[in-house]
Homo-oligomer: 330 residues x 2
């Protein structure tokens, strides 16, 4: 029976939204067991009924969003994240899902769960909606590593390729390189050389992709170093937040605009849903020996629910072994 390890003390809306999603998911999926890590008394208070396929493992500490990752992992031995990572390492669960401190989760992955042989650095991907695709596009690395060398970018591309094949059933994923221009001689040496390496590889490389085309790309994978990835991701977050705020203030300005809002509401909603990370679930930290899944830090119940759904999919698709096999065949 599949056993999903779930750190319910991470993210802005935990433990309440996390526990609520776990209860809903456990009830609907009798073939899945969920092991919750966190303060047992608090979790118990949130679960009003007996649910046979939920287990609670007490964790007295919590890793905070502003904790320094490696220090937190070393010192907070009794935190929900570290206990969960150790359980995963010891094969007590099939994955660890957390919406907590991203850096700490990567550190727990590297130092407790360990990397796949041949992978120097794990990558943190993001699954993004694109207006020109019905499947999300994978961007990586979004900041698991601040600096990257050529071999790392190649490893990122290969891992994303395997993910797209085994989880999203894309036969020949199209791989692009984020860069400051379309031509092959653009960018820093790291990017120029990676362009050549990707061209020479077995991957279906489609060339450079400019940042202005991320939200509308037709391709499957966009590779970048973690510093750039973090910048791009946060720029997108900032603009989306500003648009939402703007629309809200425009629509709520007066009675006329409120009526206007009502008239366009359903159309706008469908766009918003299309661009919504809450439907996308969790993303695996790629390159680890076992399945560690990151849910968005501001996940609500719906986002946690789809994160659990995607955890089940990835376990059933045997993502980690696909990854190991795929990387060995290089």
């Amino acid at each position: 029976m599949i056993n999903i390890g779930f750190d319910v003390f991470g993210g802005d809306n935990s433990p309440n939204a996390a526990v609520a999603a776990a209860v809903k998911f456990a009830k609907e999926n009798g073939d899945v067991k969920i092991t919750l890590y966190g303060k047992e008394a608090i979790i118990n208070d949130l679960i009003s009924e007996e649910i046979s396929n939920i287990e609670i493992v007490n964790a007295t500490e919590k890793i905070e969003g502003n904790d320094e990752p490696t220090i937190a992992i070393r010192r907070k031995k009794d935190s929900s994240m570290v206990i969960g990572a150790n359980a995963l390492k010891n094969c007590e669960v099939d994955c660890l899902l957390s919406a907590g401190n991203t850096g700490a989760l990567v550190a727990a992955g590297v130092f407790i769960v360990r990397r796949i042989k041949g992978i120097d650095r794990p990558a943190l991907p993001g699954l993004m909606p694109s207006t020109n695709r019905n499947k999300p596009v994978m961007l990586l690395d979004l900041g698991a590593n601040i600096e990257a060398k050529e071999e790392h970018l190649m490893q990122y591309a290969k891992m994303a390729n395997i993910y797209m094949q085994s989880i999203l059933q894309v036969k020949e994923p199209e791989v692009g390189l984020l860069n400051i221009g379309a031509e092959e001689n653009k960018g820093t040496d790291l990017y120029k050389n990676t362009y050549q390496n990707l061209s020479a590889s077995e991957l279906k490389f489609v060339g450079n992709i400019e940042a202005r085309d991320i939200l509308t790309t037709k391709h499957d994978i966009i590779v970048m170093d973690g510093f750039t990835g973090n910048m791009v991701l946060k720029t997108l977050e900032g603009s989306i937040a500003l648009f939402n705020d703007t629309l809200k203030s425009v629509f709520l300005a007066n009675i006329k605009t409120k009526i206007g809002a009502l008239l366009v509401k359903s159309r706008l909603k469908s766009f918003k849903e299309n661009m919504d990370y809450k439907e996308i679930g969790a993303t695996p930290i790629l390159g680890l020996n076992k399945l560690v899944l990151k849910a968005h830090g501001s996940s609500d119940e719906r986002a946690f629910y789809s994160a659990l759904k995607s955890a089940k999919v990835m376990i059933e698709a045997d993502l980690i072994n696909e990854m190991k096999r795929g990387l060995e065949n290089e």
Copy 2:
């Protein structure tokens, strides 16, 4: 009498929009002369009347958007951009304004106009609107240099500081460093060390600024390397374009949404104007011996008009000499 050199064969809407803006500006500003560089016959066809303070200098070639910058500058000696740059070098005009190929304009600046002593690399700044300021914020470098060292980032900060003081009358400009987190130990070595250097400088350093806060920042200047700057700029461009497309398709969907659009129109327009680069004018390439101004590549008549307006302001404020004096006092 001020003499604005204007390459009217650069950008998406040249020469028509560029010439139209020049005519309007020349008529309204009898104390300014405008020297237009480009194909004389075509320009003459666009000007229906005699305007005493417009001069046309014939240039048979044009640098295209996809020309390789340094090669174009070397080979297209009779292009509007190169002729204009030489005129500026020879003090025939007080500035060169162009909406053409950015890389080529930077190259023309470095190889023809030359840098200010003590500046290793010029920087391409962008003046951006922010929802929390009534003055634009200066981001730099947006890609004049693909790679930057610590001393370059410091030079960028100092030049932006002088610009903000002498052109936008900000007494003590607040300088931030774009980075992946707020804490001082964040980012690559380049960013960690720059944090320390900025802290130790005379500048009013406010710390790291995350990319998600660019559009809403209260500070005056955000410093970054050119590769990152280009990524961030294009990510913003991409999201704004998508936002506009989405609103258009939402509002034009059916009769109900069209009425909705009418009801919110004026509110939305005021937001759009607030976020509009067309009002912002041109940005100087900082670090050059004379004033070279970049207008947005998709400038229309209104944008070119405000670019001419800002050129006049910068000449009158004696920006270049302020820059030289300010850098000498270091």
